[in-house]
């Protein structure tokens, strides 16, 4: 079994996508830079040239519209945002245009476009260079949102996003880029809308995405030492959400902790909690649903505050313990 890094898995996916799909191209600010997007775009410009790998001016709204227009002409653009924070500058094209285009015209026109959104935070970068906006984009109808957590899914979901034929926001986290894992060499896809159980357990369900899946796994190891058996559901797709998998797990454990790297209020964790409460599952819950996510504050610069700002295995352990103390 071949093992490569998360960043390399993205790189390999991009190479294979552009090589096999004549309509695919990569566009975005920084994709030919030696540092901007880590090593994810290494070798692309040399191999495919500036017509298929287009580094751009700092013109986010324009370039997003440009990608949309290319998609409407039958191409499969992947637009890269080296930081999700900069997507706010493109909100008009993303939300008013890209997301609505299909529906506004009665479903006649599809928008086969991937928005590759990188979360890049920590390191005292502060409020404008740290944001994880999965909830913002998931809120918008007409957009799918995926968040891979392993190199295998990083590659498979990127390929699936391009093949999907609809606007997909593909969110990865730079904190995952060094993670190693098994990745097949061939071109393959991972289905959008399907999660996986990363660890089976009977006492409590922890739902997580992206880098927090790894924190949840650490937490589970830690908790197993004190006899708590945690089941971890990795959503992989935030939208559509794999309700079936989620419900099945909660039905089994009757307890739920939802972990998200975005802000706690009005976010992904709230949505998942609501989905469970809306169904008759809520009667099975032995404790209130707990959320582990970012506090309700912009990202602070100081590392002293970053330490308490970002959720980690420790915060998951505490939430699980609290949930197990509580009874409905």
């Amino acid at each position: 079994m071949r093992t490569i890094s998360f960043a390399k898995a993205i790189n390999e996916a991009l190479h294979q996508i552009i090589a096999t799909d004549k309509q695919a191209f990569l566009i975005g600010q920084g994709i030919t830079s030696p540092w901007y997007v880590g090593t994810t775009t290494v070798g692309l410009i040399g191999r495919f040239g500036p017509k298929r790998v287009i580094d751009t001016p700092t013109s986010e709204n324009c370039i997003t519209g440009v990608a949309l227009g290319a998609a409407l002409a039958g191409m499969h653009p992947i637009i890269c945002f080296p930081r999700m924070d900069f997507m706010y500058l493109a909100m008009d094209q993303l939300a008013n245009h890209m997301a609505n285009w299909c529906y506004m015209f009665g479903g006649q026109l599809n928008v086969p476009m991937v928005v590759w959104a990188i979360i890049n935070r920590g390191g005292e970068q502060a409020a404008q260079h740290s944001q994880a906006l999965q909830a913002v984009f998931s809120h918008i109808p007409g957009v799918k949102v995926v968040m891979p957590s392993t190199p295998y899914d990083a590659k498979g979901l990127l390929i699936a996003s391009v093949q999907d034929g609809n606007p997909v926001v593909y969110i990865d986290d730079r904190w995952l880029y060094e993670k190693e894992g098994h990745v097949p060499e061939e071109h393959y896809s991972v289905p959008i809308g399907k999660g996986v159980v990363r660890r089976e357990g009977k006492d409590i369900t922890v739902v997580a995405t992206s880098y927090l899946v790894h924190e949840a796994l650490k937490a589970a190891d830690n908790l197993s030492n004190v006899g708590i058996d945690v089941e971890i559901v990795d959503l992989l797709s935030v939208k559509p959400l794999d309700e079936k998998l989620l419900f099945k797990s909660v039905e089994k454990t009757n307890r739920l902790v939802v972990v998200d790297g975005g802000w706690i209020h009005f976010g992904l964790a709230a949505e998942i909690a609501a989905r469970v409460s809306e169904t008759c599952l809520f009667k099975l819950l032995k404790a209130p649903v707990m959320r582990v996510a970012l506090p309700n504050a912009p990202a602070p610069a100081s590392s002293a505050l970053e330490k308490v700002y970002y959720p980690n295995a420790g915060s998951i352990v505490s939430a699980v313990k609290k949930s197990l103390e509580k009874r409905n």
Binding site: P34, S59, H129, A301, A304
Partner: protein, 333 residues
């Protein structure tokens, strides 16, 4: 262009002002060099710093033409603007250490510094982000009939953003007291300007919006000062905005203390050529030649600044980090 740049600085300005310009530029240089050494090899400063070395004449020339009550808005490359506007070195250094005593109380880091007491309401790390905000401040000044101007500092990269053009239009339409200062250092992160702008002459965009636009040698501090002074006078007299494009160069890489030459993004010859055009050395030569300053005084100035910068480092080092309880403090007023 080259010839023009080597032109001696014209000196029909008060001696004290010329000396202050020199001192300010040297302060920025020494401060930034010290910051560079604290990032690597020291690793004491870890917030990403976009250093201003090579561009000192722009912030200095512009800010010397302003009053304390005039506002300036800054960018990710913020330290020079803060120092030139008269910000306290200790609080800046403390912010780079992300300490509680920093000018943004450790919440902002290098890219987000503010010093409202000296007319710096903030700096944004979003390219072009502060351009419309400075226009808004100018709008307020005009509604309030205040005799102040607002200055937007931004890089050539901001001229890629639509909001730059919208801001020029609105400011010109409403004849607002704002000065747009574009620091064209020929690069936007890894890309040279010719890979980004169909027409790299940014000052020309002013014409489209019926406002004055000039391109000047940004490494000539006196020229920057005089051009800004004229723009500021016009703004105060209700004649509306000016766009000043200052040609300059950052000696270091986009971010951090290395010159980035190993990355192959620019040539050593190009860098050397700009180092030869060092705005500080040039000013120094002229001041010496005209007897406005002596070698001895220069040494004294440098020694004094070095001591101040060391004091700032000591202050930053000994300051406390923000407390955990500060995390949720300051989201609202």
């Amino acid at each position: 262009m080259n010839k023009k740049e080597q032109k001696p600085l014209s000196l029909d300005l008060p001696r004290e002002l010329l000396r202050k310009m020199y001192t300010t530029m040297v302060t920025i240089r020494i401060f930034e060099e010290r910051v560079a050494s604290l990032i690597a090899p020291k690793k004491e400063i870890t917030t990403p710093c976009h250093l201003y070395i090579g561009q000192e004449s722009v912030a200095t020339g512009v800010c010397m033409a302003l009053k304390k009550e005039d506002y300036v808005y800054s960018t990710h490359r913020s330290h020079g603007h803060y120092i030139a506007k008269g910000g306290d070195l200790k609080r800046l250094m403390a912010e780079l250490y992300c300490k509680k005593t920093g000018c943004s109380r450790g919440k902002g880091g290098s890219m987000h510094i503010a010093a409202p007491e000296i007319g710096l309401p903030g700096s944004s790390a979003i390219v072009g982000g502060t351009i419309p905000i400075s226009v808004g401040t100018a709008l307020a000044f005009s509604i309030q009939s205040r005799d102040n101007v607002s200055v937007a500092f931004f890089g050539d990269g901001a001229a890629h953003e639509g909001v730059f053009y919208e801001s020029l239009n609105f400011a010109s339409l409403k004849k607002l007291p704002v000065v747009f200062v574009c620091e064209n250092n020929l690069y936007c992160t890894h890309l040279p300007i010719t890979s980004c702008l169909a027409d790299p002459e940014i000052y020309k965009k002013a014409q489209i919006f019926h406002m004055p636009g000039v391109r000047i040698d940004g490494n000539d501090v006196v020229k920057v000062y005089k051009t800004t002074r004229k723009a500021v006078e016009d703004a105060r007299r209700g004649k509306g905005p000016t766009l000043i494009e200052c040609l300059t160069y950052r000696w270091l890489g986009h971010v951090g203390p290395s010159d980035d030459l190993d990355k192959g993004l620019r040539s050593k010859e190009e860098l050397d050529c700009w180092v030869k055009k060092c705005p500080i050395r040039r000013m120094k030569k002229t001041l010496l030649k005209h007897g406005i300053i002596t070698e001895n005084e220069i040494d004294k100035i440098e020694t004094k600044i070095r001591a101040e910068v060391e004091e700032a480092v000591a202050f930053a080092r000994s300051s406390p980090y923000p407390d955990e309880s500060d995390l949720l403090y300051g989201i609202f007023s």
